[in-house]
């Protein structure tokens, strides 16, 4: 057979779609072309830096010689070392060695607890999954998935500190007992923003016991939404009932959750949940988003309006005015022509769906916007039974804010403070509060936290906190369902105390602090407290309690619904805010708006020491391990710094260092990527930040994610300081990470600040982006259609669906010859009857569908995969070299139309997760010289790690670039210690580090030199199949027959439809991933999905026949909107 050479067709002359993933690609520089042509990113396969040189070829040969000589002596090592089997003396209930046990629990969070099912192996929690029985279950996000690693974090606090020095636990016990014995203490409690009924109950008791007690609540990024609705009230959102959704700068899908979000995504599928119906655009919801920079919610939008955050008030006011609301009087009318054109049809659409629409204001937007959104929702009659909105009254009432706390400390109303919030007020409080100075005035400050953060060192006492997987507690989920938090394990370190245990010690007569376990194996006092709470608000008795522990929740006593009403101060607040922003005016290039954005990796900074989150690329900017300021290309051009920002870095090919005479690096990418640093001045402060371009961002805004720059050491690239090795506030993961933006943030400008100026400096900072790694040229990979006919020849919805399979190159490709056709096939073997079906399993043939219509690109799957499959982290330097190990690559594409006359700078955003597609005709398998990657009978493309010799031919031949190579022993050598990876046997070993306890015992931990990639969670598949086949015996027993007399059918041996889930599918909050047995056909969701018209294969024309299919993204634009013609056309043709 001659070689099949594919000629890429020319781009049609009338093609209007341009798609790109980076500035370099958009500009189509020759360097970018070179980058694309390389198999691995520049330098990924080479040893370049000075540390790497230590293992040069010569020293390798020396070592080889020595090891051959030693082999003779080493023979004795072939004898097996004696190993032991150590059974339990008394087996704990439910534990079967080697089998996972599952418990229902929850992760307490500010926006409502995330209900979880925790996988434990012999009592050791290893993996989190959503509790899908829970009425508020909505998958898990990356934070929840990564939180299991915090339990085993090497930088977790383990010792009690007094004024920053480790002391004995007994000293603390004395201090707590003294405090408990003093009912007249001027004591304050600073809680987080999560809601815990037990904590609220104990707070009431504390208020009785300590007559001067005061209670406060603080988290850095919770905003003012609660204040608008009333004390302790919160919105409860039911997305399944919302046909039209308007987000006013609210990232409800990812970082600013308002309610369980899965129903929203289910309504992004025109076939409905589970793909059971015919595609019907009427069933889809429609999302309008008003925001400054791309958020993941904005990426899902059908219509998106770019405005700076201050102008959101004007847009909200204009909408209120169109609806004829009196609140609009306080707001200046919109003057921007585009905004007016955009708002009118939007309001018509909302009005037409009154009672079934939803207007959400970002919870960090000023109170005025919240009031306006509330007024609009009231006018649209969206509140009430069977409607999308309700207001819940939670238990978190009567809590002061941080400003009130500061005032009370300064006036000595509070001289003893318990800081229980997960935020880090000494670091992240608004700069003008100067909270650290007030905090230092306290007589006694007690900080309970899992890290020794800045607040811990600033306190009199620091108590190491127990992880939520180690403590008894309870919480309210996002829609107010009572949810229990139960421990999986006693605290790993004996001094770790939970919040409730600390409060209970203060409430007890003796003041004795009991943590983890009571005397003689009695449960923690927190257990009794939670049980008492449940008995009072739920049901009494053993049965109800056991049911609560089994299910994880109790629906009987939800947070009560209260009527929604506009606060009397609303009008005044709106008017005052209007005057404020009127003064500042619209942002200009000389007075930019700075947005202190919530970070997708570290949130407010609390997860800075979590390596999974640090290494997961930011969903929008694709930066790892750092933060950077984002700026729109147009603004950069106006400021005259665009050329500098995209300017390739000269790097000498000989020396590998920057040099004016050096070669130009490939599009300023890979390990050589250094970004210019800008100085940003606002609110009288100046900070420095590396700058990146960001598409679709409002002009004259700078987005800076918060939470980084918490601590530095001597290895810092920019020698930032101060270096305080004695009081390290961050561990190896969080040290030298990014830049701190909190100094710019004041209490008047907690979300955004106006009037900022930026200056480009000469300094540069290396950043590790995964953006252009593993690029796949510009074929029609992510496909998109629109539900309306946009009069450009593509036809109506049905026509567009029919054309999904023919987009891009697939329009021109000849039919493929498939080599694995079954026996006797006409087209296959000349000698009919000789060909043996390759995929011979008649019980299971696995397959996956990824629905781009509901995938938002949030990276939850990526982190879940990391947790399930023991994927190591590699560190910033390795990521920069393109050696990241994530099995799922979250691509995200931008696309715009050349003829877009509404807003050409607002490209469409399409994310696309790509993992191994398990091609039936896999190109990787044919090139492996040792048969380490082969096909299984049930359709998996398998990797035998112990057979792999690391030629990397397979990765070279993979058209999808989904194979990952272990360039180093990332599991054995901590990649975060500088140069450690290159030291070989002399490096610091990570064996015995606590994070190894997290590893999944059913998945091999890979070593250096082997290739790995997505396995479709083969361990889960095997487990399900083995369990099913074991049922044969049960059937015989039940029937009372001998096994030889039983009929064994397919039903006995095939697993029930949709009964196994991969880790990514399980975690996905958008239910974008369906996985199943293809032989279940239409009975399984996957079977239905793959028969849809919008199902297509990636690079179908090369004939690999992938088992993972993609469903084209469907946009549901409003034909009356001015930009409707440009929606749903992101399909990527040739670049």
């Amino acid at each position: 057979m001659s070689k099949f050479i594919w000629q890429h067709p020319e781009v049609p002359a009338d093609e209007t779609t341009v798609a790109w993933r980076s500035a370099g690609q958009l500009e189509d520089t020759p360097e970018f072309r070179e980058w694309l042509d390389r198999e691995f990113p520049q330098g990924a396969a080479e040893m370049a830096d000075e540390g790497d040189m230590e293992t040069s070829r010569r020293s390798f040969l020396k070592l080889m010689g020595a090891s051959t000589a030693l082999a003779g002596f080493g023979m004795a090592a072939c004898r097996r070392p004696e190993s032991y089997i150590v059974p339990y003396t008394k087996a704990p209930e439910w534990v079967i060695p080697g089998k996972a046990t599952y418990y229902a629990s929850a992760m307490p969070r500010a926006n409502g607890a995330t209900p979880l099912v925790v996988t434990t192996f012999e009592g050791r929690p290893t993996k989190l999954a959503p509790n899908n029985l829970h009425p508020d279950a909505a998958g898990t996000d990356a934070f929840a998935q990564a939180s299991v690693l915090d339990l085993y974090s090497t930088s977790r606090s383990r010792k009690v500190l007094k004024s920053g020095t480790a002391v004995k636990r007994a000293d603390l016990d004395v201090a707590i007992a003294a405090l408990a014995a003093d009912p007249s203490a001027n004591i304050g409690f600073l809680f987080g923003a999560d809601v815990s009924p037990t904590r609220a109950r104990l707070a009431k008791q504390l208020a009785t016991k300590f007559t001067n007690a005061r209670f406060y609540q603080y988290e850095a990024l919770t905003g003012e939404s609660a204040k608008v609705l009333g004390d302790g009230a919160k919105l409860s959102v039911d997305f399944s009932k919302a046909d039209r959704i308007l987000s006013l700068d609210c990232d409800f899908a990812a970082l600013d959750p308002q309610g369980p979000v899965t129903p929203f995504f289910e309504r992004r599928k025109p076939e409905g949940k589970g793909y059971e119906a015919k595609p019907d655009p009427e069933k889809m919801n429609r999302l309008y988003v008003v925001e400054a920079a791309y958020s993941l919610t904005g990426g899902m939008a059908d219509h998106r309006l770019r405005v700076s955050p201050s102008q959101v008030l004007i847009v909200a006011g204009e909408i209120a005015r169109e609806l004829g609301l009196p609140q609009a009087k306080g707001v200046n009318p919109a003057t921007d022509g585009n905004q007016i054109k955009w708002i009118k049809p939007l309001v018509e659409d909302l009005k037409a769906h009154s009672g079934k629409s939803l207007v959400l204001a970002g919870s960090r937007q000023p109170a005025a916007v919240q009031h306006l959104a509330l007024a609009i929702n009231l006018a649209l009659e969206n509140f009430g039974e069977g409607k999308p909105l309700a207001v819940l009254q939670t238990e978190a009432q009567g809590l002061g804010d941080l400003a009130a706390l500061k005032k009370d400390i300064d006036s000595q109303i509070v001289d003893t403070l318990l800081v229980l919030t997960p935020s880090n007020p000494v670091y992240d409080a608004p700069a003008d509060l100067n909270f650290a100075a007030s905090y230092a005035k306290l007589k006694t400050s007690i900080r309970l936290s899992d890290r020794t953060d800045a607040t811990a060192y600033a306190s009199t006492w620091h108590i190491p906190a127990a992880h939520y997987l180690e403590s008894w507690s309870d919480a309210r989920s996002s829609r107010g369902v009572y949810t229990v938090v139960q421990p999986m394990i006693l605290p790993l370190y004996q001094d770790c105390v939970s919040e409730l245990e600390l409060l209970l010690a203060l409430l007890s007569d003796t003041g004795k602090l009991i943590n983890g376990e009571g005397a003689k194996g009695a449960p923690s006092p927190a257990y009794d407290a939670v049980r008492a709470t449940f008995a009072s608000i739920g049901e009494e008795g053993e049965t109800a309690w056991k049911k609560l522990l089994r299910d994880g929740f109790y629906t009987g006593s939800p947070s009560p619904t209260i009527p929604a009403s506009l606060a009397p101060t609303a009008d005044a607040t709106i008017a005052a805010a209007n005057i404020e922003i009127g003064k500042a005016g619209k942002p200009t290039k000389d007075a930019l708006e700075v947005i202190f954005a919530t970070d997708a990796s570290v949130y407010d900074g609390r997860w800075i020491d979590n390596p999974w989150l640090q290494e997961a690329p930011d969903p929008i900017s694709k930066i790892t391990w750092d933060n950077a300021a984002l700026i729109a290309p147009k603004t950069a051009k106006e400021l005259g710094i665009y050329d500098k920002i995209v300017d390739p870095e000269p790097v000498s090919s000989v020396l590998g260092v920057e040099s004016a005479f050096g070669d130009v690096g490939p599009d300023n990418e890979g390990q050589n990527r250094k970004q210019h640093i800008i100085k940003i001045s606002v609110n009288g402060q100046t900070v420095e930040f590396p700058v990146l371009l960001s598409f679709g961002q409002a002009e004259n805004t700078i987005v800076i994610p918060v939470g980084y720059g918490q601590g530095y050491d001597k290895d810092d690239e920019l020698k930032r300081g101060p270096v305080d090795d004695k009081h390290r506030v961050v561990g190896l993961v969080g040290v030298n990470r990014g830049f701190d933006v909190y100094p710019l943030r004041t209490s008047a400008t907690p979300y955004f600040a106006t009037g900022a100026k930026i200056v480009l400096t000469d300094k540069k900072y290396s950043v590790a982006l995964t953006q252009e790694h593993s690029a796949m040229y510009g074929r029609a990979l992510a496909r998109e259609v629109s539900t309306i006919d946009t009069e450009d020849g593509k036809g109506d919805f049905a026509d567009q669906l029919a054309m999904v399979k023919k987009q891009g190159n697939d329009a021109h490709a000849p039919p493929n010859v498939y080599q694995y056709l079954p026996k006797g096939s006409e087209t296959w073997h000349p000698d009919k009857g000789q060909a043996i079906p390759h995929l011979s399993d008649t019980l299971h043939q696995w397959g996956m569908s990824i629905d781009l219509s509901s995938c938002m690109g949030c990276s939850a799957c990526l982190v879940a995969c990391q947790a399930e499959n023991n994927i190591p982290i590699v560190g910033k330097e390795q990521v920069a070299k393109g050696r990241e190990m994530h099995w799922i690559r979250m691509d995200r594409y931008y696309a715009t139309q050349k003829d877009n006359d509404f807003d050409a700078d607002n490209p469409a955003f399409v994310p696309q997760p790509v993992a191994c597609l398990h091609c039936e005709a896999a190109p990787c398998e044919t090139v492996c010289p040792v048969n380490a990657t082969v096909h299984t009978e049930d359709g998996l493309n398998a990797m035998a790690y112990n057979r792999c010799i690391g030629t990397r031919y397979c990765a070279n031949n993979c058209p999808y670039k989904v194979r990952r190579f272990n360039f180093f022993d990332y599991n054995k050598r901590n990649p975060l210690i500088p140069h450690n990876l290159n030291r070989g046997p002399f490096g610091v070993k990570a064996v015995g580090d606590p994070d190894h306890l997290q590893k999944n015992p059913n998945v091999t931990v890979r070593m250096r030199g082997v290739m790995e990639k997505c396995t479709y969670c083969v361990q889960r598949l095997k487990d399900a199949v083995i369990r099913q086949k074991g049922g044969q015996k049960q059937e015989a027993l039940v029937a009372g027959k001998l096994s030889t007399e039983m009929e064994v059918t397919t039903a006995t041996l095939r697993i029930p439809v949709d009964s196994v889930k991969t880790a990514c599918q399980d975690a996905c909050p958008a239910s974008a991933i369906t996985f199943g047995n293809r032989l279940d056909e239409e009975k399984s969701a996957h079977g239905r999905a793959r028969n849809l018209e919008r199902n297509y294969s990636l690079l179908n024309y090369i004939g690999t026949r992938p088992r993972t299919g993609y469903l084209a993204r469907v946009k549901n634009p409003n034909p009356d909107m001015p930009d409707h013609k440009f929606i749903g056309k992101a399909t990527i043709h040739m670049v």
Partner: protein, 232 residues
Amino acid sequence: MANIFPRWSNLLPIKIAVCALSVVAGLVFAFSYYATPKTLTVGYQPSQPIPFSHKIHVDQVGLDCRYCHSFVDVAGHSNVPTGSTCWNCHQHVQKESPKLAPLHKSMDPAYPGYDGKPIEWVRVHKAPDFVYFNHSAHVNRGISCQNCHGNVNTMEVVTQDQNMSMGWCLTCHRNPELNLRPLEEVYNFKYNAVDYLSKNPQSGVKTPEELGLKLKEQFKVKPKTTCATCHH
């Protein structure tokens, strides 16, 4: 001209060849003795903290395998009994036997040296870390303990019976009929296919081989031989 090579050097090439051959033969012998799976593992018989006799417990007492290895048919790992499983009987039986001192130390609070720590049994059978072996997948589909572990019922001290190399696994995965039994007979160490057939006559089945083939067909046993079956 004097001889450059003395007379004795005439035999040198032969001597060198003989030496080299014996070295090579020695290496081959050493390798096959020390390094092949058979010699590495078969017959491995470590002494255990308690000289537990399977012969007594299975043959004389008549315990089922699953009394102690209680999760063999539900989990991948066949568990070694907990201390309390032994203690169930041995708090009453053979109380004074000095051989049971480690058990008393682990379980008996009245015992002088009691520490409550588990007994450390020495592992006899071990699949490498990169192999995923599941006991329940085999015993629930008609493969007996005896097929891999040998006649444990006659062992005073447990010995490794089979070499458990990958080739050995594959011989059975390719031809499972040689080892398949009716599910009721999996834990029966006295099983004999001929006796079984005489007691339970099957239509069209005369020989043990035919029984194996019949069970394979009836149970739909299709063992997989691709890598991911055991390596993932």
